[in-house]
């Protein structure tokens, strides 16, 4: 029988006790203010800073691999998704396996950064971070690991600066933008003027970006996530992982207007990357110049970077050693979900171990 037909909702004989009320209060607090648990707790050193960009180093206590890994994340959201919680930290996993790990945090742009675009990030900040990372790590080569938009940026950088690069790993990074699903319909240049938005706002608010992503699956993202939260909470299950992810989802950063306009116009609307017509500091980004070993990974349920957007990189690059993995999972769950530790992580490790000494 459905609870809807199961008599009065609050029988006069028994009102919820204080413990139950506390649970409801906690649920309402999470809905209103989001999760509040410590995240990104793996110890790290600051190696270098430039403007808002910070290069962090996560030292391995038992470094076994000479080739360090440089993690690059998107300009939106925060890179602590790589180190969400100790029990779901991809970075901790890598350093425990003996890798020297570096992470670029693009930081939170200020009004003075509204004119920053990919020329600045890929053409200026990323090379500086690579230089400083190699010095700090004391090595001559490195693995570049990009996630989401960070993967697109990493591939662009790899095409421009193949020197010293040993491996390239791209995780759920879009390269082909001819069919981007709902994004393609909404961002069609007949309806959406990215340049006007960038000129008017300067910095594109994180909430606006988040709303766009959430609207890809509005029922699941706006209702389903709250159902899941209440379900776990009322069942007395551990909420830590849920709260950490909830915190990260709501902890976005603004998108510098110039970079936003470039991303929407040149990538989504004109699909220039795959055509080799994107320029960084005057130089064309030709992805076919990538010849290092490539591991390119997509998620079967990824609605943000669909497999159709991810896979074409493998068809373009000149690498003789290249792999494409299609794994179960969505854009984020694949990296930090409960299945990541037995699915994605060991597969990446196995690939890296053969190419990092």
């Amino acid at each position: 029988m459905s609870p809807l037909n199961d008599g009065p909702m609050w029988p006069s004989a028994q009102f919820p006790d204080q413990a139950q009320l506390d649970v409801y209060e906690e649920g309402l607090r999470i809905m209103a203010f989001g999760g509040k648990v410590p995240t990104g707790t793996t110890p790290k050193d600051v190696v270098y800073t430039r403007n808002k960009t910070t290069l962090y180093r996560y030292r391995s206590k038992n470094r076994r691999h000479a080739t360090p890994i440089l993690l690059v994340y998107a300009l939106i959201n925060r890179p602590y998704i790589f180190d969400l919680r100790p029990e779901s930290s991809f970075i901790k996993f890598l350093i425990d396996q003996g890798y020297d790990v570096f992470l670029i945090d693009w930081g939170t742009p200020g009004w003075e950064d509204r004119n920053m675009d990919f020329d600045d990030y890929v053409g200026e900040h990323l090379p500086l971070c690579v230089e400083r990372m190699l010095r700090a790590s004391g090595t001559d080569d490195y693995t570049l690991f990009g996630y989401c938009m960070g993967g697109t940026m990493a591939a662009m950088y790899a095409a421009l600066h193949p020197e010293n690069l040993r491996n390239l790993v791209c995780l759920t990074a879009p390269f082909e933008f001819s069919d981007t699903g709902l994004y393609g319909i909404w961002l069609d240049d007949r309806h959406f003027d990215a340049q006007q938005l960038a000129d008017s706002l300067g910095l594109i608010p994180a909430d606006l970006i988040d709303a766009g992503n959430m609207m890809l699956r509005p029922v699941v993202n706006y209702v389903g996530s709250n159902v899941t939260m209440w379900d776990r909470l009322l069942a007395g299950r551990d909420m830590t992982s849920f709260l950490a992810l909830n915190k990260w989802v709501k902890d976005g950063v603004a998108f510098p207007g110039a970079a936003f306009a470039q991303w929407i116009t040149q990538f989504y609307q004109q699909n220039l990357l795959i055509k080799g017509e994107i320029t960084i500091q005057g130089e064309k980004v030709d992805l076919s110049r990538i010849s290092v070993p490539l591991l390119n990974i997509a998620g079967e349920q990824d609605h943000i970077a669909t497999p159709q957007q991810v896979e074409p990189l493998n068809e373009i690059v000149a690498s003789s050693d290249k792999s494409f993995l299609l794994l179960p999972g969505g854009h984020v769950a694949m990296l930090v979900g409960s299945g990541a530790q037995k699915g994605l992580w060991p597969k990446i490790l196995e690939w890296l171990d053969k190419r990092s000494d």
Binding site: G7, L128, H191, Q196, S200, L201, V219
Partner: protein, 181 residues
């Protein structure tokens, strides 16, 4: 009077959600994937941008009248700081280049060590200079100040214990960075 626990209101909602989520999603997808929705969303975003720009211009005009700095003014100051940062980075790059190309030059660690020793010597000299002039037999204990002077009273590090010069481990590394300053 009933004594059974109250039905959980969440369960009712979850049951409704589980039953309807799929059909809700399909209905929403039909709406969201329509040209009409895209056009309406585009217009809404454009009006939002217009409103935000008008607000910003009004705020700037008000700040100007009140002789208050605007966001643009503060951004200009920040840009000056960023320019300085670029210059420091450029100077650091030059230092690295010099260090890489001239491995015989002392490394930064050696210079730091020398600076530390010079500072310690300076303290010791000042301490001696501030002492009253007394005649001390050659065989007597050293002055108290010499015992208390930091580092200088300790055995100075010999050349053998000084940090070794940085080896040109990375001298062969290709220069990657060509930032446009």
């Amino acid at each position: 009077m009933s004594t059974k626990p109250p039905p959980n209101p969440f369960e009712a909602f979850k049951a409704a959600y589980d039953q309807a989520a799929e059909s809700w999603s399909k209905s929403m997808e039909q709406v969201l994937s329509s040209e009409d929705f895209a056009a309406a969303a585009g217009r809404m975003v454009a009006r939002y941008a217009d409103a935000q720009e008008a607000l910003r211009q009004a705020a700037e005009a008000t700040s100007d009248q009140l002789h208050l700095p605007t966001k643009d003014d503060l951004a200009r100051v920040a840009e000056l700081v960023l320019n300085l940062e670029r210059k420091i980075d450029a100077a650091t790059d030059k230092l690295f280049e010099l260090s890489d190309s001239r491995p015989e030059l002392p490394s930064l660690e050696v210079w730091t060590h020398i600076a530390d020793r010079l500072a310690a010597l300076e303290i010791a000299v000042k301490t001696f200079a501030s002492m009253p002039a007394t005649t001390t037999p050659a065989s007597a204990d050293p002055p108290v100040a010499a015992k208390t002077a930091p580092v200088a009273a300790k055995a100075p590090p010999s050349a053998a214990t000084a940090p070794k010069q940085k080896q040109p481990a990375r001298a062969s590394r290709t220069r990657r960075t060509a930032p446009k300053e």
